[in-house]
Amino acid sequence: MGFLNAAHLRFLFDGLLWTVGLSLLAFVGGGLLGFAVALGSSYGPRGSRLLVSLYIKLIQGTPLLVLLPLAYFGLPALGLDVAPLAAAAMALSIYVSAYLGEIWRGCIESVPRTQAEAAECLALRWHQRVWHVILPQAIKIATPPTVGFMVQIVKNTSLASAIGFVELARAGQIINNSTFEPFVIFVIVAALYFVLCYPLSVLSRRLERKFHVAHR
């Protein structure tokens, strides 16, 4: 591995940081938007439910590799000035929100209806029922699949290279272009992705087991 010098490793590490940063942006943005999507499709009036379900189908039926350039190149073409990071964050958040929103809608709806009725009979207001009775139970159900989906987010940030981000995968490509050692380089890149994703997988499985025996 003598062809790899400290500058190469530094370059890879910077790429890794971008991957982590983009993942966090995608998760936070997608989480907030996804929460709105989940509430809208669980509790909204009929019209908003239809709209939200259309949104979910539209986004889930669109490749992220198309959403990213759409935000980065498409919006400026319409006269909207978007910074690269904002475009990436927007496209990733929208993409993630469609999946998290759908996962969370399922979790909200899997809390037995009788729980909401019991809360209703105790004269709790709508927001109190949702906040104190439904969501705490839904969050327990939602945690394992949500953490599991974070693995997908981490890997999908590699597509941000399409709009110029030198994240981990792109950093690997660039180094390979100068060293011509694809096997070693991409094994290292794969290993770094694994290091990011494996703890999430383990956490997801552990949470699943924990909540399985918890008080539900």
């Binding site: 009979c121 004269a123 709790l124 109190q128 104190h132 705490p136 008080h215």
Partner: protein
């Protein structure tokens, strides 16, 4: 004195299944009434109609001065005045026994925490479950869960402004 519950000729269908047909009865204040019938005969549905968890197709219901089937029903006040213990008790599994009982006083009656805690413990004492205050419902037996549900109900209706009237479901236990 006018009855506390007045059911007048109510009917209710679920699709093509007629669950209630021309049911009428009244309940006087302070009386205990058991509604007995085969499973699936509509006892629970009738009860759910009284607390407006179901709407009736026709007929009239008046409870604690609320015109349940009329326009302008104050649903929130109805729920404050009427309590139900469900067949499966429906305690909140993510809350301890104490939290279950304190939920309505804290959120609906805006009771302060020490005060809510004190009255909740008093009610738990009454049903003999003070030592289970920090347990979760899943750690209790069915009978204990039922007693917690009753404690919860008493707490809900123990508000100063509430009318201290309760409808108890006799459904569980005796008449299956």
């Amino acid at each position: 004195m006018s009855p506390i519950v007045e059911i007048d000729n109510i009917s209710k269908c679920f699709g093509s299944t007629r669950v209630l047909e021309g049911v009428s009865f009244t309940v006087r204040k302070g009386s205990v009434v058991a509604i007995i019938g085969q499973s699936g005969s509509g006892k629970s549905t009738a009860l759910r109609c009284i607390d407006r968890l179901e709407t009736v197709d026709s007929g009239h219901i008046k409870v604690c001065g609320h015109d349940v089937t009329g326009p302008g029903l104050d649903l929130h006040q109805l729920r404050r005045d009427v309590g139900i213990v469900f067949q499966s008790y429906n305690l909140f599994p993510h809350l301890t026994v104490l939290q279950n009982i304190m939920l309505a006083p804290r959120l609906v009656q805006k009771a302060r925490k020490p005060q809510a805690h004190e009255t909740a413990m008093a009610v738990l004492n009454q049903v003999g479950l003070a030592d289970k205050a920090d347990h979760y419902p899943s750690q209790l037996s069915g009978g204990q869960q039922q007693r917690v549900a009753h404690a919860q109900l008493v707490q809900q209706l123990a508000a100063p402004r509430a009318l201290r009237r309760q409808i108890n479901e006799i459904g569980h236990g005796g008449c299956h």
